[in-house]
């Protein structure tokens, strides 16, 4: 399912002339780590968000194709419309997908550089053991 999640995230945070996209952010490593470290419930929510994202173009751009098969212009329009849909549960599921994607994207050194923020060192992931 990770590829489905990845494809949705790349559409939600595409590379533009202004900013790097999610695909520029070691997304594969991030998703692997996130899947390993997060709770099963959280990962389930992310996967559910990705499934809804890919199965809903019929309702947003009126094309009976999964999002990952859409041409880029339509995929872009779909990404915006599904994220702002009036259907609360769908919007929340897409938000659950956007949350980790945003965490990966916003911590990227190049993104931070564009915002005049210093790069962040790696999280230590340590605690007192004595």
């Amino acid at each position: 399912m990770t590829w489905l999640v990845r494809a949705a995230i790349v559409m939600l945070y595409p590379r533009t002339a202004l900013l790097p996209g999610a695909e520029d952010c070691d997304l594969d490593d991030f998703l692997e780590r996130f899947r390993r470290e997060t709770s099963a419930l959280m990962w389930l929510g992310v996967v559910a968000g990705a499934i809804v994202f890919h199965l809903s173009p019929l309702f947003t751009v009126f094309v009976p194709l999964p999002a990952f098969l859409l041409p880029s212009g339509l995929a872009d329009r779909h990404a915006n419309r599904i994220s702002t849909t009036n259907v609360y549960l769908v919007r929340q599921l897409v938000f659950v997908l956007k949350l980790p994607a945003g965490l990966a994207w916003g911590a990227n050194p190049e993104v931070r550089r564009r915002f005049s923020l210093a790069p962040l060192a790696a999280d230590p992931g340590t605690w007192r053991t004595k």
């Binding site: 900013l19 709770s39 929340q92 916003g106 911590a107 605690w127 007192r128």
Partner: protein, 504 residues
């Protein structure tokens, strides 16, 4: 006379069995203050904390790391109701004091008067104030230093002043020389924020205490109606793998300070029967309004929260504050997706987020889930509270405009993403459906409320659970009213008072 710290123990390692005078469950504002009060009297004290003990050099730097290492279950607890609003709580040594902005506000007189007249709790005012005096001295309370204010806080002050709000001030916080690193939410790696893992917990240890970390308490041990200790299994800080069992017996009392959501559930699991248990949950639901400025604001440079106004605490019932969030969180907070979203995010340097906290009158309940015993919080806002919520957004939008913003981003589903300064009046007719808003619950109260009547309260005015001996609750769950202010100082004052009562 230094005590000992027992971190995670895997299965197969020896079980922990210990006995002390007092066992304190939780190490946040309530637990740590209660523990140090008891330890200073010479009593032997154990703090049993569900999270790991992380020092500033262990703190994460990214928001991802913050959610993984410091938040309770990745911050995934949400209200169950018409809308799913996240509940912000930490799970680490020091509790939520590690991830909050350490805002210090004394408990106002009207709160004590309300506790007295409505809940029959009298005599707390002077004692809580006395405790707040020494806590302020212990932890150092300072106004946000001039050099750390950052442009977002300066603009907020400017906006509030231009609107002639009677209260528009830089915050007083438990910090020592804040450097304005903008990392409050991930724990202050500069050691400036005085979270309890840096002071009261180490002091308890230095006074011979036992600190047990990564140890979520499953139940309170009892003999008849007397609490005699706690038990549970260690939980690995990252994998959450179950470790070996621990049992810490209390010769004198068990003090529960596991948070508003966990304390009621722990009492339920431990056989405490009270018609009020898990009821009267209250909160400060809130949301942020972004202002868009011509010049860069760089809100992540400077104190994460540095400005506040209490001008609207009584009418309509709001607290206003600044709150800087990093790009990682703005990325999901901004509506939209695709190139439209990227266009919006490109303005990050030019936006400032200020937020409100609604002094909501709505109440909810806390129960344990059928699977795993996690807390389930049922909560929603009634119409008057939603009107307050909306009014708070209007005030924030006006404040941004007064500070020079050319537009605001309210984040209301179904409304334009951005409203020009001539369009902010549209917010006055914004929908009142909570599903349209992106909100969080930051300050929580209730679930084990104090009061005179055991039918409507769980603990008395000294934090003692009705009908039990040696069982005290000392966190925000005892607070029976909505403070309308940041609660950390009130929680600490109450915990110190309840702990001192145990020594009588």
């Amino acid at each position: 006379m230094t005590g000992s710290h027992v971190p995670f123990r895997a299965q197969g390692e020896g079980e922990l069995d210990a006995e002390v005078d007092f066992v304190v469950v939780g190490s946040g504002a309530g637990g740590a203050t209660a523990a140090v009060t008891l330890a200073r009297s010479g009593a032997s004290v154990a703090i049993v904390e569900a999270g790991a003990w992380r020092d500033p050099e262990d703190y994460p730097l990214t928001a991802y790391g913050g959610m993984r290492d410091l938040m309770d279950d990745w911050g995934s607890l949400v209200t169950v109701g018409r809308a799913f609003w996240p509940i912000v709580q930490a799970r680490t040594m020091g509790g939520t004091t590690v991830i909050n902005s350490a805002i210090c506000v004394r408990t106002p007189d009207d709160i004590f008067a309300q506790w007295d007249s409505v809940h029959g709790i009298s005599g707390l005012r002077d004692r809580v104030r006395e405790a707040q005096d020494w806590i302020e001295k212990d932890l150092t309370v300072e106004e946000v230093p001039v050099t750390s204010r950052g442009r977002s806080n300066l603009l907020a002050k400017q906006g509030g002043d231009r609107l002639s709000w009677p209260s528009s001030h830089y915050m007083r916080r438990y910090t020592k020389g804040c450097e304005g690193a903008g990392q409050c939410l991930q724990g202050c790696g500069k050691r400036r924020k005085q979270s309890t893992n840096l002071n009261y917990v180490p002091e308890t240890l230095a006074r011979g205490g036992l600190i047990v970390s990564s140890a979520p308490v499953q139940r309170i041990l009892s003999e008849g109606s007397r609490a005699v200790g706690v038990t549970g299994r260690f939980s690995h800080p990252t994998t959450r793998a179950e470790g070996t069992r621990f049992r810490v017996r209390a010769r004198k009392a068990v003090v529960v300070a596991a948070s508003v959501t966990h304390s009621p559930v722990l009492l339920m699991r431990s056989g405490v029967k009270s018609p009020a248990l898990g009821k009267y949950f209250r909160a400060h639901p809130g949301t942020g309004v972004f202002g868009c400025y011509d010049d860069p604001v760089d809100m992540n440079i400077g104190a994460t929260q540095g400005w506040a106004s209490t001008a609207f605490r009584d009418t309509p019932g709001l607290k206003l504050e600044t709150l800087a969030i990093p790009p990682e969180l703005v990325a999901s907070r901004f509506a939209g997706g695709g190139t439209e979203l990227m266009q919006r995010l490109s303005e990050y340097r030019h936006v400032a987020m200020w937020c409100h906290a609604v002094r909501a009158e709505s109440t909810g309940t806390i129960r344990q889930s059928l699977f795993g015993g996690r807390p389930v919080v049922r909560y929603g806002l009634d119409r008057p509270d939603m009107e307050r919520f909306r009014q708070g957004m209007v005030l924030l939008a006006k404040q941004h405009v007064a500070a020079g913003a050319k537009a605001v981003i309210p984040g209301i589903s179904g409304m334009p993403f951005k409203l020009g300064k001539d369009e902010i009046h549209l917010l006055e007719d914004a929908p009142l459906d909570p599903q349209r808003y992106v909100a969080i619950l930051s300050h929580l109260f209730g679930g084990c409320v104090m009061g005179k009547d055991p039918k409507t309260s769980v603990v008395d005015g000294r934090g003692r659970v009705h009908g039990w001996d040696g069982l005290v609750v000392a966190d925000a769950s005892v607070i029976p009213t909505n403070l309308g202010l940041n609660p950390q100082h009130t929680i600490m004052g109450l915990a110190a008072t309840f702990a001192a009562d145990l020594l009588d």
